[in-house]
Amino acid sequence: MLDHDLIQRTLGAALRTGGELAEIFVEDKVSSSAIFDDGKVEHLTSGRDRGAGIRVIVGDTTGFAHTADLSESGLAAAAEAAAAAARSGGGGVRAAALVAQDAPRPNQIAVLPQDVPKAKKVELLRRADDAARAAGAAISQVTARYGDSRRRILVANSDGLLTEDDQVRTLFSVMAVASGDTGMQTGYQSLGRTVGFELFDSHDVEDLAREAAERALVKLGARPAPSGTMPVVIGPGGGGVLFHEACGHGLEADLVTKGASVFAGRIGERVADPRITLVDDGTMAEEWGCFAIDDEGSVAARNVLIEDGILTDYMWDLLRARKEGRPRSGNGRRQSYKHLPMVRMTNTYVLAGPDDPDDIVASTPNGVYVAHLGGGQVNTATGDFVFGMTEAYLIEDGRITEPLREGNLIGNGPAVLASIDAVGHDFAMGSPGMCGKDGQGVPVGDGVPTLRVPALTVGGTA
């Protein structure tokens, strides 16, 4: 992506006034998207973003600058700005010779989306629109979106690291609106993988569209969600966001080391039922949050965070791992070359447990069954988190009965984690997610088996 001598000279320029580490992150991202809305192809969009971010670290201070100008002079100017931003250090530090390192790709890409004719992408959208509208006369509006991106990155630093990755992602989503006497309801379903256009060899967009439409139709007859504290059973694949919010963010080392996490200082302690093992895994082939290297050049890894209920580790980025003198965990990520990296999740999931999913429902006299969760949010300092239920049902006498309208659930991360009393053997990964933190969004995946929280607060009105 960039001449190695030029990289070496840029790192040298960045360290001219001293510093412990200089890093260059080069990114070249092409993307395309198409929207089918209101019965027609609205428009196609193509985009290109290319540039470099340079950081210089002196003590606890990071200087950072970025540029879209990848010429010798453009990079030199950015290196100088980053060096000036970092407090002046001892001086005379030399960048080590670069040694190229290969990291294994989680999976191969069969069909690059940019090689696929645009007409084929548009055709997928049309098929999805047809299938959603055919699902019921009450479907009044459909929006189908296609998107792909190819993000090539290069990371080099003054320790001599030089490594690259080529990340291809393909996404398809459908939102359907159903209209009835009770007003309008929406249903959403999405599919995203770190693969190319071959995604559609193994997945039918019609299925996706029908699922979105069904979700909207079911909610037309839904009753308001109950209000108050009750048992909540979460279906397989639908509830990974629970762990993402309930404890995932609280296990990010930047928050932990600043005292902004309720999980600080709890390594080795029991934080959950022995049936719970939580993993963050950037190597999980084809999943939405996978890659070969993170955005600091660390190789992706499978990290066990909670093992049999015991908190085993946090997630780390380069700076905090260096400071603690511990191995990196492959969790240093950034939205683009314009952003500084920080600790982020990849694919976060709970391993399958011993319980029969049907028994979990049958042994819950009354409560709520959540088949699909929407997004969530957490206050890591208190551990309080919310997440939305986009498809949910009442549980009455151990049976799943009436559909419920949308609402948020609220709980406290450590309390919920410690209270989970059933874990199914039916693991599934969920929908692709975009995790936001301090204004940066990165793609993440999650997954869970069926599980039960004996007491969660359901934010309904009934």
């Binding site: 193509s46 290109r48 290319r50 606890d60 309008m184 309720v262 309080d384 609220i410 359901v458 934010g459």
Partner: protein, 450 residues
């Protein structure tokens, strides 16, 4: 506008002038610089100096629309974007209402949004502000034992739109802000809350204002408990009001209406809110940080009344939705480099009602004063209007603030909340996102807790 022809407008105009016969071409060109300083533990944690630029090109031919963008103004990349937009247009479906904006004779407001002094401020002064902000916040209260984030940030930007249909617009603006997140600890419990100070010039900012805001918000939540499930009167502080009205504003946009995704689509002329409520979108109001003289299609922004005395007046439109609705753009096109113009409010604000914050609160016997909401993206559905969010706040007893509560939700529908408003304060507060809110009272809302 500056006396000289801005260079950026020339860049946009050159692209627009490349339109072939039968083709409409629009170029939106923007560039900006920003400085961000984060302080932590008495040191500079990071200092970022950034500059960025980009172009978005829209081509309409035979009523088909295509779009492409590039994150640079290099000539080759700009030409590539034009070529890609042309190619993409071939795949859009014809829509008789597709077409670029045309000059509509509305004069742009004369707004001075450019912080001329900010450019001369040395970086060292910005660093000092971030360091002071952390130090002052830590020293404010013995219960504050840390600061997760203390930040100074500013940005200066300019943007231009030129079209083959005769649009030529240019504008520039800048803002700066201080943000701090304070950690309050007592008896093993930690609470975190943020404080802000926002302005255009660095001299508009107040370290005390940001620190006091964060410290008050974090410390007053200490000892909070989960309230019982009940129906209760909500007292929304101005920033909560602004957040909710921002969502309502999105439901009053012409695109949502035309595509059958707004529950208010057929309600013009009808009461959709309490007669106490009036709100307008007025990007020509320089008090708002969302103020702009031009919208994303280069038309002059204007004052648009959305709800007056509870009655829905109309919707916001860009050129496409205005034309298709049989009306015209309201100067409400919103966009970034990477997307075609959508429709949205720029400076939505509630018209002040009667009474100070204290007077409005003082009239509530028993209620919940809401100071933060969580899960707006997952619990509020702008199509159905279903509304369910996590809240923190303080109970109100006999008109005074009482014990803090957390881990609870409030739920209703947006339609219901608007109709039930029983008091609108006069305490207009402008928020960082450009919206303006007041204290609102809404009785009989479901609160889920223990």
């Amino acid at each position: 506008m500056a006396a000289h022809a801005p260079e950026l407008l020339d860049v946009a105009a050159r692209v627009a002038e490349m339109a072939k016969p039968g083709e409409q071409v629009e170029a939106y060109v923007a560039r900006g610089t920003s400085t961000t300083v984060r302080a932590y533990g008495g040191e500079v944690e990071s200092l970022t100096q950034a500059s960025s630029a980009g172009v978005g090109v829209r081509v309409i031919v035979d009523h088909r629309e295509g779009f492409a963008y590039a994150g640079t103004l290099e000539e080759g990349a700009v030409l590539d974007a034009l070529a890609e937009a042309r190619d993409n247009a071939a795949f859009g479906e014809p829509d008789e209402f597709n077409g670029l904006a045309e000059p509509d004779g509305v004069e742009p407001a004369d707004l001075d949004l450019w912080p001329a002094g900010l450019q001369a401020v040395p970086t060292a002064d910005k660093v000092a502000m971030a360091l002071d902000l952390e130090r002052v916040t830590r020293g404010r209260d013995p219960r504050i034992n840390g600061v997760r984030l203390a930040m100074y940030s500013d940005s200066l930007g300019e943007g231009a739109v030129a079209t083959s249909t005769g649009i030529r617009s240019w504008g520039r603006a800048g803002t700066s802000y201080l943000m701090v997140q304070a950690l309050a600890v007592q008896d093993g419990e930690t609470q975190i809350a943020g404080g802000l100070s926002v302005g255009r010039e660095l001299t508009d900012l107040s370290i005390d204002e940001a620190a006091d805001d964060a410290v008050l918000r974090a410390t007053r939540l200490l000892g909070s408990t989960k309230p019982p499930t009940q129906r209760i009167t909500l007292v929304l502080e101005p920033r909560m009001t602004a957040t909710i009205l921002g969502i309502v504003g999105g439901m009053l946009n012409g695109e949502a209406v035309l595509k059958g995704r707004s529950p208010f689509g057929d309600r013009v002329g009808q009461a959709i809110a309490s007669p106490l409520l009036t709100f307008v979108d007025d990007p020509t109001d320089a008090r708002s940080l969302g103020a702009e003289a031009h919208d994303g299609e280069g038309l002059a922004t204007r004052r648009n009344e959305l709800v007056v005395d509870g009655v829905l007046q109309g919707f916001l439109h860009n050129t496409y939705t205005g034309r298709r609705s049989g009306t015209a753009s309201t100067g409400s096109a919103q966009r970034g480099i990477a997307s075609t113009p959508g429709v949205g409010a720029g400076a939505l604000a509630v018209a002040p009602g009667a009474g100070t914050h204290e007077e409005v609160l003082g009239a509530v016997d028993r209620g919940l004063f809401v100071t933060s909401m969580a899960g707006l993206h997952s619990g509020v559905n702008p199509v159905s209007g279903d509304f369910s969010v996590g809240v923190e706040g303080l109970m109100v007893r006999d008109g005074a603030l009482a014990e803090p509560v957390r881990e609870a939700t409030i739920a209703s529908t947006l339609q219901r909340l608007l109709l039930d408003i029983s008091a609108v304060g006069a305490d207009l507060e402008w928020l960082p996102d450009g919206t303006g809110g007041v204290t609102l009272v809404i009785p009989d809302v479901a609160l889920s807790g223990a």
